[in-house]
Amino acid sequence: MILVWLIAIPLVAGVIAGFVARRSQLASRLISLLAMVVGFVISVWLWAANYSHISLLTQRQWLAEFNVPWISSFGIRFHLAMDGMSLLLVTLTFLLGIASVMISWREIHDGVGFFHFNLLWVIAGIVAVFLAMDLFLFYFSWELMLIPMYFLIAIWGHERRVYAAVKFFLFTQLSGLLMLVAILTLYFAHHAATGVYTFEYSQLIGTPLAPHTAMLVMLGFFAAFAVKLPMFPFHTWLPDAHTEAPTAGSVVLAGLLLKTGAYGLLRFVLPLFPRAAHEFAPIAIALAIAGILYGALLAYGQTDLKRLVAYTSVSHLGFVLLGIFIGTPLAIAGAFITIIAHGISTGTMFMLVGMVQERTHTREMDRLGGLWQTAPRLSGSGVFFVLASIGLPGLGDFVGEFLVLLGTYRVSPMVAAFATVGVLCSTFYGLKFVARAFHGPNTNKWKLPDLSGREIALVGAMMVVLLWLGLYPQPVLNTFKPTAQRLEQVVHGPGMGYRR
């Protein structure tokens, strides 16, 4: 039941926040913030209460579960369940939800009610995606989270917002429909084999499929997740959407929405189609490497700060894809840490860029420069998160990418070498960012207010989390462990002959 609350709280609060805004914008913001904080507290409480035995959970055991029939004529159930992986991702979702509400405090003035309605509903949709264990429910939530996101970009975005929003919507819809066809094929194949109509995740695992069919169905799922991730060459929606979205929208997109793609690969593609995924791995790995290098290269070429950060996401998510398809426990753990750390570091980067834009009304590097002299706290935080993004040891991103590289090296030193080049490239764009925006002479005579108390609290909290992830990631790894073991069993199960 607690899982239903996690989804219902943002949904209900969104409606209330939407209506009260006419009377008081402040009330709308406070209600949204309260809902996010409550969700965060619940997920942290769940984590604390279960931490002692979380790593001992065996297969098919959930931390919490909710399962009732929904549309029984199709065998659809409203089945939510939580394991370590979803717990961590839900916690991240609410953490970034708090950040999104706070960062919009001063930025959003028009349509405040509808803004918070959309923001809370997209959060609810993402939480539902992380918790759904019925494939119909999963697809339902998957599609549902798009619409509020679309509105966030199309209404409160920047100059080319409509173009970016429509592009985002079309890309994700087309790939989502392919996943729907794949889900249905699996559903009917399961019925043909067992005589039972069900969308239940745990039952669909192990559905016998002809190798050819399994490959096609796997590709259907993969299409949806690869577009969301985004994987090169399906990433072209991302720079537009990230750049045009309002700050909160960019935070949710980069920090959470992209992670649903990675989550889908871990939760569905590998366990449901281990053999097909194994056969497909070389292609996915090649595309991951291409994405790492291409993203880093393009990031270096950007002069728009938001666009730069957006392309770094393509590069970092390439590491996630690489780790997942290398498939060794080390690499998968690394991919997962990267998911969490990237959510925090890139989310905060977007917030900082948003703060710069709010003060200077530009995101162009050429018009910035020398900000350190006038806003040292803002610039200092910027440097901190740029360093995190380029993989400074001691911060979360480093741990994730290091583990992925370590796992990759054991399988293929060649691939690891290419990926390491990507890490090197990240130094170029990172230093360019710092040098052009924060250092140098203040040629434009900027006089900016430095970070306010609210902003310091926000950015400081993110720094602490990132440091904690970098210095002591063991609690996260412990929590993820049962999921990782489960993955290992299905992927490396008897007779799979998966390379190690």
Partner: protein
């Protein structure tokens, strides 16, 4: 005829009687309120009479009509949709300086025609029902005689519907000439014995497909649709798009399923081609429109293409998927044209996409309803349109008709593009016209409530479709 026959026919009788009562009342006293109230009461009684009628099903009443669960389900749909059309017509007609009362008589007769159509299992009743429906629709399309465009719409509809009826009749005649029967069940036994392979029968079915194609407005028989949708008054367009097409789809299911001619290779091939052409052409042509009524007209062509995918999938699954899709589609089109109807001033209908720019910030309730409708057309979750698309794709996947499924997937993404254009206009934040530039009429209370109910129905079906799915699945027993 026994009393049980009359009970089974009760919905039809009530509909016919209401039309007469309203006509008589006009003869005595012209009152818009009275005529519309009588109509609503009559429709409510007709809806209630479905329950006594359900006690007598399935029942063959005369060789012409069969009252079974299938027919009753569609009766329910037709009556409920007509009820909604009446509610939204009241405010619309109030703004127009015409004789308003006859509108309701025509609407009731059209509903009667549709009901006859869905319960017919004989060529004669099929044709009678069709003509009752069509003739009233000519008059309804041209009802606002002061508008040239409405007259044009009525005229176009008259010519094309007459032509399609001629095709249909000729096809029926050919089938009759070869088989010697006009009843669907007897045709089924004749076809099963191999009669379907005969050249005249095939030619007859081909002519009938043409007739069906015109009425359903699928490519290449769709040319009348945009003009009629644009020219007819918005509530009439709502009726044409929902009830008329819905009844036609029902008789399509019944005829081709019951007579067994669905399973002919030629039928499947021709409908497959029509479905693909409709999905592609409808969606592509809608991209280039700036008139909301025309966008919806072209999108309806595409949606009929999706419905034909369910028809192609076949079996109980396909028929049920088609019926569910149609139910969702009827609610959606009623809602969409209802929004147009309540926003339309006396001079012209609110059909330019510019009429909707920034509507959300001026009339949030209406804009929300319209957004729900558009999302349902686009097949987005929480709406019935999503489940309809899901059901159709499921039926298609089950039957492995991959080409049709992938065309459906690809074209519905194209479809999203123009639905989003309207949504973008609704939520636009710049260049919002002021009340002086584009005054917004006061939303009539009844129309507003109807739209709210339609939107809630759509979401209810999209979230908890259990009841209606159950009803549809048992209704399909009628044609199997």
């Amino acid at each position: 005829m026994s009393s049980a026959d009359f009970v089974a026919l009760l919905p039809l009788i009530v509909l016919g009687a209401t039309a007469i009562v309203v006509m008589m009342s006009i003869a005595f006293r012209r009152s818009h309120a009275l005529a519309s109230t009588l109509t609503l009461v009559g429709l409510a009684v007709a809806f209630w009479s479905l329950w006594p009628a359900a006690g007598e099903v399935p029942r063959q009443v005369t060789p012409l009509l069969v009252i079974d669960r299938f027919a009753l389900y569609y009766f329910g749909l037709i009556i409920a949709a007509t009820f909604a059309v009446v509610l939204m017509s009241y405010g619309y007609l109030e703004r127009h300086d015409v004789r308003r009362e006859e509108f309701y008589v025509l609407l009731l007769v059209a509903a009667l025609g549709s009901a006859v159509l869905v319960s017919s299992d004989h060529f004669i009743s099929f044709f009678l029902g069709l003509e009752i429906l069509s003739v009233t629709l000519y008059a309804l399309s041209a009802y606002l005689t002061e508008r040239g465009i409405a007259l044009e719409a009525g005229m176009k509809y008259l010519v094309l519907a007459a032509a399609s009826a001629a095709f249909l009749l000729f096809g029926m005649a050919l089938v009759y000439a070869e088989t010697g029967t006009m009843s669907f069940p007897q045709l089924a036994s004749d076809f099963a014995a191999g009669g379907a392979a005969h050249l005249w029968v095939l030619a007859g079915i081909a002519f009938m497909v043409t007739g069906f194609g015109f009425k359903l407005a699928v490519v290449p028989f769709h040319l009348w649709t945009p003009d009629v949708y644009q020219g007819a008054p918005a509530p009439v367009t709502a009726f044409v798009a929902s009830v008329s097409k819905g009844a036609m789809f029902a008789i399509l299911l019944r005829f081709f399923y019951q007579s067994g001619s669905r399973d002919l290779h030629a039928t499947l091939l021709i409908f497959g081609i029509i479905a693909i052409a409709s999905m592609i052409a409808g969606n592509l042509m809608a991209l280039f429109q700036n008139n909301v009524k025309r966008i919806l007209a072209y999108s309806s062509i595409a949606h009929l293409g999706y419905l034909l995918v369910a028809f192609e999938a076949g079996g109980l699954f396909g028929a049920a998927a088609g019926t569910f899709y149609l139910t969702a589609y009827m609610i959606t089109t009623l809602g969409a044209f209802g929004v147009i109807a309540v926003l339309s001033a006396s001079g012209r209908d609110a059909e330019d996409i510019e009429d909707y720019r920034g509507l959300f910030w001026r009339r949030p309730g209406l804009a929300t309803v319209f957004t729900v409708m558009l999302f349902s057309l686009a097949g987005i979750p929480l709406t019935a349109g999503f489940l309809g698309k899901f059901y159709t794709v499921a039926a298609g996947t089950n039957s492995s008709i991959w080409v049709l499924i992938f065309v459906l997937v690809a074209t519905s993404v194209i479809g999203l593009f123009y639905y989003l254009r309207v949504v973008v206009a609704l939520f636009a934040t710049e260049h919002i016209p002021s009340d002086a530039e584009r005054p917004l009429p006061v939303v009539p209370a009844m129309g507003g409530v109807t739209l709210g109910v339609l939107a809630l129905a759509l979401i209810w079906l999209g979230v908890y479709p259990h009841v209606i799915l159950h009803a549809i699945q048992s209704a399909m027993s009628g044609i199997f």
